[in-house]
């Protein structure tokens, strides 16, 4: 439906995938074939796009998504330590979801908050100057 609405728009595949993901939280397995049909593309082309871009997920995420910046500016103020703390605290690696589906942990290379790092994004909201203590408080606040 989303794809049909925008198929006249040139080069809209990525926009369409964003919209579908916004609707379902991820891209269900049948999406590439459906979108390919609608846009008159091959499944391979759509699959190629889905797998090229980090944003597109083929599995559901947890109720809370935590993304930790790991780029240089945040590294200079302790992003390595925060990353280690985050994986230890949540018990999952980057790109993984806790077994109870409460939290998905992921890494990002730069949120553009480079003067106020380390930066973490939780459910789409940005937090600056996040040390391990603040991380725990923020995560507890979102998941309790």
């Amino acid at each position: 439906m989303i794809a049909a609405a925008r198929k006249a728009e040139a080069g809209a595949l990525i926009e369409i995938l964003h919209e579908i993901q916004a609707e379902f939280g991820y891209l269900p397995a049948e999406v590439p074939a459906l979108v390919a049909d609608e846009l008159n593309l091959s499944r391979a082309e759509v699959h190629g796009v889905v797998t090229f871009y980090r944003d597109f997920r083929s599995q559901p995420v947890g109720r809370t998504t935590v993304r930790v910046c790991r780029a240089e500016a945040c590294q200079s103020v302790g992003a390595h330590q925060l990353a280690e703390h985050a994986t230890a605290r949540l018990g999952v690696g980057f790109g993984q979801t806790t077994p109870d589906h409460s939290v998905t942990l992921d890494q990002v290379f730069c949120f553009g908050n480079c003067a106020l790092g380390p930066t973490v994004e939780i459910n789409g909201l940005l937090y600056g100057r996040v040390d391990p203590e603040r991380f725990d408080a923020l995560v507890a606040g979102e998941t309790s």
Binding site: A12, A71, S76, T87, G95, L126
Partner: protein, 530 residues
């Protein structure tokens, strides 16, 4: 209190300010004022760029705007009680904003309205000089506008530094049924955030720059390609575009002229490589962001095969000020062939981080130690990385370098997008070099071998050097590998990744011979939901 009109209070909506509590500060000030029967109007402005003082609150008084910061949500009530709404002095006072030396000493041309106005008030935009550049451009011929941009000396602010006007002239001189202007707002370099701050704090300036470009080259459609990590910038830009359509700036008759221009925001999907112009065009066409081989250059065959000007946010954002004044006035700023101003971004481990817009030619040290005040941790500065993840690491003894394309190129470095990331003496430069290769391996589009394979091999070779396995041989190998990547890669991703590696080796060789204990690999993203 018998104030007849409400007291105006500015609390930034910039996402950096929001990341340290600006939304809650705004709510708490409104609440405290209401409880005390004070009539206030809270305006959510962009950030003035003194990011270490965010959230920075400003109150309009008879003597000008008075600033307070950093204000925490818990400060709000007590600040109202001690007379902040009347501009009273207290421990968080910063004085009259325009008189803060850090701000006053800058030369803000592009950023003159950022943090000053309500970003979505077209009235305030025009009252502060907005629109003058477009109106003057529309009264000129397209070729005259292009000449003006060439004469200003404006070079691409995204990193490559190619003369913007020359690119425009190529697009103007290429005949086609449709032409495009694409703004590269895929600001993925760590340590850079000026694009974001302009889009969030003064989006009309970017649109005005694109309108001028479209008129100059004969393009009728523009795209802004914004990375998905910038949701606030996307929302603000979309609101700005909606307003400009409603007010006759965008659409069929731009400001009542015969010029036509439509503008669309497109959102990236988490791929650093899409900051490379041809990769961005592929992505805009709905494909994998694999780079294109040049030539043909995009100004001749770009988006959908049509002539396309691809410029960075800061390049297009510079244009309104150039046209509003004159090319000659703009070119009076700067040194050599680095003319005009650059919006430098002070980031990382820095005491006073933020944006400093000033003429090219200011030294690295004046920025890092003068404006920046050294490190946030208070330890000595050991290294700074200038120009993003592909830029060189420089030691503190190079702080005399003037910030200009020529002087940086001569020093084996690059100004890039103007971002400066500061590290204190706890940094392990071998690890930073390893990260540069690792980042390239993660973000390479995979099209060419030197980048796709070279980056993976680079990580392995650095690991062996640090582990003291055939160190001398592996150092030679790393040098060869860097040369192959530099000379053999199709784009700047593989071509410039050796820059941070080589500069780290050159300036900090001791970090590569400390032994294996210091290797702290960054864990790659594991399987999971991708």
């Amino acid at each position: 209190m018998s104030a007849t009109s409400p007291t105006v209070v500015y609390v930034p909506r910039d996402s950096a300010a929001r990341s340290v509590g600006a939304d809650e500060v705004a709510d708490r000030i409104a609440l405290a004022a209401a409880e005390r029967h004070r009539d206030v109007r809270i305006v959510r402005n962009g950030s003035r760029g003194l990011l270490w003082l965010e959230p920075m609150v400003e109150v309009v008084t008879a003597g000008g705007r008075v600033a307070y910061g950093p204000v925490t949500p818990d400060d709000a009530e007590s600040l109202v009680d001690v007379g902040m709404l009347d501009g009273a002095d207290n421990e968080l006072s910063l004085g009259v904003t325009d008189e803060i030396e850090w701000l006053r000493s800058q030369q803000r041309l592009m950023f003159r309205r950022v943090g000053v106005i309500d970003p979505l008030s077209l009235e305030e935009y025009e009252a502060n000089g907005g629109g003058a550049g477009l109106r003057r451009a529309l009264a000129m011929s397209p070729a005259e506008v292009v000449t003006e941009v060439i004469d200003s000396g404006l070079r691409g602010r995204g990193g490559a530094g190619f003369p913007a006007g020359v690119k425009w002239r190529t697009a103007l001189d290429t005949d086609a049924d449709v032409k495009y202007v694409c703004c590269n707002a895929d600001e993925g370099d760590s340590g850079t955030f000026a694009d974001r701050m302009l889009m969030e704090g003064d989006p009309f300036t970017l649109v005005e720059g694109m309108l001028i470009c479209g008129y100059a080259v004969g393009a009728t459609h523009g795209f802004v390609y914004v990375r998905s990590e910038y949701p606030d910038a996307i929302a603000t830009l979309n609101s700005a575009i909606e307003i400009l359509y409603a007010r006759g700036w965008l659409g069929e008759h731009v400001l009542g002229s015969d010029a036509e221009f439509d503008l669309t925001v497109r959102v990236g999907a988490g791929a650093y490589i899409c900051g490379e112009e041809t990769s961005m065009l592929e992505s805009l066409e709905g494909r994998r962001g694999e780079i294109r081989v040049k030539p043909p250059i995009p100004a001749i065959r770009g988006l959908f095969g049509r002539p396309t000007v691809v410029n960075n946010v800061l390049t297009l954002g510079s244009v309104p000020a150039i046209l509003a004044g004159s090319a000659a006035a703009y070119a009076e700023h700067g040194v050599d062939r680095s003319l005009g101003t650059q919006v430098f971004q002070l980031a990382g481990n820095i005491a006073r981080g933020g944006v400093v817009e000033t003429s090219f030619g200011i030294t690295l040290g004046e920025l890092v130690l003068g404006y920046g005040g050294g490190t946030r941790t208070g330890r000595p500065v050991r290294a700074v990385q200038v120009g993003g993840p592909l830029g060189a690491y420089l030691p503190a003894d190079r702080f005399d370098l003037p910030m200009a394309y020529e002087s940086f190129a001569a020093a084996g470095a690059m100004v890039g997008h103007g971002g400066i990331v500061v590290f204190d003496d706890s940094v392990d430069m071998a690890q930073q070099a390893r990260f540069a290769m690792e980042f390239c391996a993660e973000e390479s589009c995979g099209k060419c071998t030197p980048c796709r394979v070279g980056a993976v091999r680079g990580v392995e070779v650095i690991d062996r050097i640090v582990a003291d396995v055939d160190r001398d041989l592996n150092l030679v190998l790393l040098g060869d590998l860097c040369e192959v990547m530099t000379e053999g890669s199709l784009c700047a991703m593989g071509g410039l990744t050796p820059m941070p590696v080589r500069s780290a080796l050159e300036h900090f060789p001791e970090d590569f011979s400390r032994g294996p204990a210091l290797v702290r690999p960054v864990a790659p993203a594991e399987g999971g939901p991708r």
